[in-house]
Amino acid sequence: MCGIFGMIGDSNTTKLLMQGLKRMEYRGYDSSGICIVDNNEFIRRRAVGELSNLEPLVVNLPNAECGIAHTRWATHGPPTEDNAHPHMSPKLDVAVVHNGIIENEVELRKELSSIDKNIIFKSDTDSEIIAHLLSNEIKNSGLDLKKSKDEEFISCWKKVIDKLEGSFALAVILKGRNDFILFARKFAPLVISHDGNKGILASDVSCIVGITDKVHYLEEGDWGLINKNGLKIFNIDGDLVEKEPKKLEWTLGDAELGGYPTFMLKEIYEQPRVVRDCLRGRLSREKIKGVSIPFNPRLLRIVGCGTAYNAGLLARYYIEQLSKIPVILDHAHEFRYGAPSGPKSLVIGISQSGETADTLAAIQAAHERGYPTLGIVNVESSTIARNVDTMIGIRAGPEIGVASTKAFTGQVLGGLLVAMKLGQDSKNFHREDLSYFDRHARMLPTSIERMLNDQNIKTKLWEAQQYFVDKNHAFFLGRNTSYPIALEGALKLKEISYIHAEGYAGGELKHGPLALVEEGTPIVVIASEGSSHKKLLGNAREVAARGAKVILITHQEDELADSHADLVIKVPRTHDLLQPLLYNIICQLLSLNIAEERGCNVDRPRNLAKSVTVE
């Protein structure tokens, strides 16, 4: 959730650190800070709130060659300046930035207090402890900050890391030493780059595209030191490891607004490309390629959180309908509490960043129980991608907006590819079915483009948003494959507009939620396919009769629509399996418009951060 950034060897370090923070702001934005090594002192600046509050404080900082920076999403202690990173040791000789959670914080605090009874912790954070520990270790080892060689600090650093339990990505600098940065990672993302002259450490590749195009991905438990000349990486056992850098696939333009007012809008408009890229080389008229499922599973278990969970729910409908194999869907964080599901189960983890701590933990639990795993991820170099047996990259490109849009579309397509593959393997989804699907799938990007530029839809969306702006509650209804879209529509709305929104299956209405409907409650009904559609329209009638304002999202050939809603938004007709994706894009636009009308920051909703790397 937090973002860390470190830089060495460039005389413009201060400027580049700020630039890096700006790119990382989506990872957390309730406070930020930087610390640079200037001659024999640290210079540290921290501020609460968005990065723009830090900017004026760094204008007059000297140029430095070495520094670290942090953008925070609070877990331990409220967002205050004292709790903002970088944190320092009492002697002010160590500065640290940390992303993750130290689980043995209490024990470590006790240990430190037993060494020095008068010890004062300046912050409520678990991160500050790390600075204290390293400062003590340096003192105990008798090292001299000025004279000792950088290698001599490596063993001190290892001793500190060994004491830490939990998750962390760390970057540490020492007073007066502008020649190296210490780092470590465990269950939190960190990438490193070195071009021979300068080195960079960052939580995420999207923060460093444009500065470098080659990066080293670290394994769990890797740690080491980076200096002007190069880097030393050790594994968890303390052995020096050689790593070949990998070339970054993403370009700077992917991580920039490029004329768009918000990343969310930009990413919504990228969805035609996401569809093309995600299906390219995988979908043909005859077979599904590039999706390998090495055995015939009897049961599938899908795990994900938030938007990825909703994509997983849609994947469940697809898999069960096309392959007749039963699917159990779990929130990733609840997976571990369930019973083992017996042999021949395949566990599918869905995560945009591939770093989602909950999903990663579920994948690891699956490994422990001996199940094969399949990951549907966007970041193909991520921890989840490297930990699963089979990986499907959704090829959506960097997603910066905190509310996921294009990644959902990619995740759904990933799930659909798996469903079709299983359907073919189990002979329930035939070649003609695939050929028919393929023809429509190739038309889908253009259908999305048509929809995004449809003046009539734009007008309807504007009318629809008027139902919401001054409301505190809203509901989304779906059935069958449109039920996941109802959940996702409600999630988008609550995430960015702060309107309380819930998605329900139409059939569930009478069992409780109907009691919440009152005069003027906006209800979005997402059309479903076949016979379930008529049932859903019946549900629309029920809520309308109780005074709700009904917005129906359906396709152009739906002739029943007009008499069932206050407002009907019609999208192009496509294949039944793909139709929910078009409805979802309408929900994305609707939420975006409502949030903007209410003056909310859609790219950085309050309290949320992009990739949730803490459990």
């Binding site: 333009g253 490029g258 490309r273 023809r439 259908s447």
Partner: protein, 406 residues
């Protein structure tokens, strides 16, 4: 040197082709028209470009991203409302306010003009305009001269009163004070650029001219094929190493084949032909003449394509014959679709156009089933569904369903 490109208009007369993109984004010889223009500007003194968008502007933003791939500093600004060329120009000017350039270059995004003519224009001492001869001058600002300077510009004159075939290309190089006066005029309600400048000419403004033969304007669908042919001539032979070309195919002349494209055995491709990325051609398909095929298309076995513009994600099944046609994105043909092409006469806005060769024009996402036959000059809107063995002739609106029994 700074330039403003006006790219706000839709291109109404291109029918369904501009449903989800503006005219400047139509792909020709592998690139949108606007990109061709930017490449021309890279060869000039111009260093900074402000692109003013309005209709389907997000498509422009998504395509060009941050504009880093050009030797130009590119900025995008959205026109606040649809208020004519001057409204668009004013949006662009307010963006570059406070710059110290004496003169500004103004271009339309939906034309292509060569860098040589632009460079001549930029060498002028005062104000300048590029002019060109046109077969249908009545739709443009017709220019009359005194010496090489402009004597008058008559916007869309009556066909009987035309005394010159030279028209304004809309490529202007104007001094700040001229632009200031245009602004004052605009505030009084004048939204046509050439009308506003005409007024200043009457008051004694001098405008020098550059004549060019390399200005291409797109007004009607059939103009696209003409411009495509012209642009294809500039494309050298290039076959991507990331393309899969069967050894049993014949690829002759200036043929471009992009990354990830597969050419199956027995195909014949005779340049000038541009095939973009991730297409699948053949087996035994024949592609000749001045043909562009955008990315993601699939051309089936035994299908023959000549002198056509095939846009993105088009699927053409086996044994189709398509020539002198413009096929909109995501259009899908089942097998045995026959397009006939010949000389065609079309009447638009009281003007007769004699088109030398025209086959089929489709908008976006049309579906033609097996054995459809299209008469020369057939024009479809978008999302037209055509049932098996239907004979098409004439024009069909968006959303038409020509299915037997329906």
């Amino acid at each position: 040197m700074k330039a403003i490109i006006l790219a706000g208009g839709r291109g109404e007369r291109l029918g369904g082709l501009t449903d989800s993109r503006s005219k400047v984004m139509l792909p020709l010889a592998g690139k949108p028209m606007l990109e061709w223009l930017l490449h021309e500007l890279e060869e000039t003194e111009v260093k900074e470009v402000t692109i003013v968008y309005y209709y389907a502007g997000e498509r422009i933003l998504t395509h060009f991203g941050s504009g880093r791939n050009y030797d130009l500093k590119i900025k995008f600004v959205k026109q606040h409302s649809d208020r004519g060329t001057v409204g668009s120009l004013m949006t662009g000017l307010s963006d570059i306010e406070g710059n110290d350039d004496e003169r500004i270059l103004i271009l339309n995004g939906d034309n292509v003009v060569d860098s040589k003519s632009i460079n001549l224009l930029l060498k002028m001492q005062g104000n300048g305009l590029i002019v060109s001869e046109h077969d249908n001058p009545q739709h443009f600002g017709v220019v009359e001269f005194k010496g090489t300077n402009v004597k008058s510009i008559t916007e869309k004159p009556d066909i009987n009163q035309i005394r010159s075939r030279m028209v304004s290309t809309g490529v202007w190089f104007l001094k700040k004070e001229v632009l200031e006066k245009i602004k004052l005029d605009f505030e009084e309600g004048q939204t046509e650029l050439s009308t506003s400048i005409s007024k200043q000419i009457k008051e004694g403004l001098e405008i020098e001219t550059v004549r060019t033969e390399n200005w291409h304007d797109v007004d009607h669908p059939w103009d696209l094929n003409k411009l495509n042919r012209y642009l294809l001539e500039r494309i050298p032979r290039f076959i991507s190493k990331k393309a899969e070309i069967s050894d049993f195919s014949t690829i002759d002349g200036d043929v471009h084949i992009g990354n990830g494209t597969i050419v199956h055995p027995g195909c014949v491709i005779q340049g000038p032909v541009h095939i973009a990325e991730n297409c699948e051609i053949g087996p035994l398909a024949v592609i000749t003449g001045s043909t562009s095929i955008s990315s993601g298309c699939r051309i089936g076995p035994f299908t023959r394509i000549r002198s056509s513009l095939i846009m993105r994600d088009v699927q053409i099944d086996s044994n189709c014959s398509i020539h002198h046609s413009i096929i909109g994105p995501a259009t899908s043909f089942r097998s045995n679709v026959e397009v006939d092409a010949s000389s065609v006469q079309k009447t638009v806005r009281n003007t007769n156009y004699q088109i030398r060769r025209l086959g089929l024009v489709t908008g976006e996402a049309c579906m033609l089933e097996q054995g459809v036959i299209c008469a020369p000059g057939t024009m479809l809107g978008s999302q037209v569904l055509v049932g098996r063995r239907t004979k098409l002739d004439g024009e069909y609106e968006t959303g038409t369903r020509l299915i037997r029994g329906a």
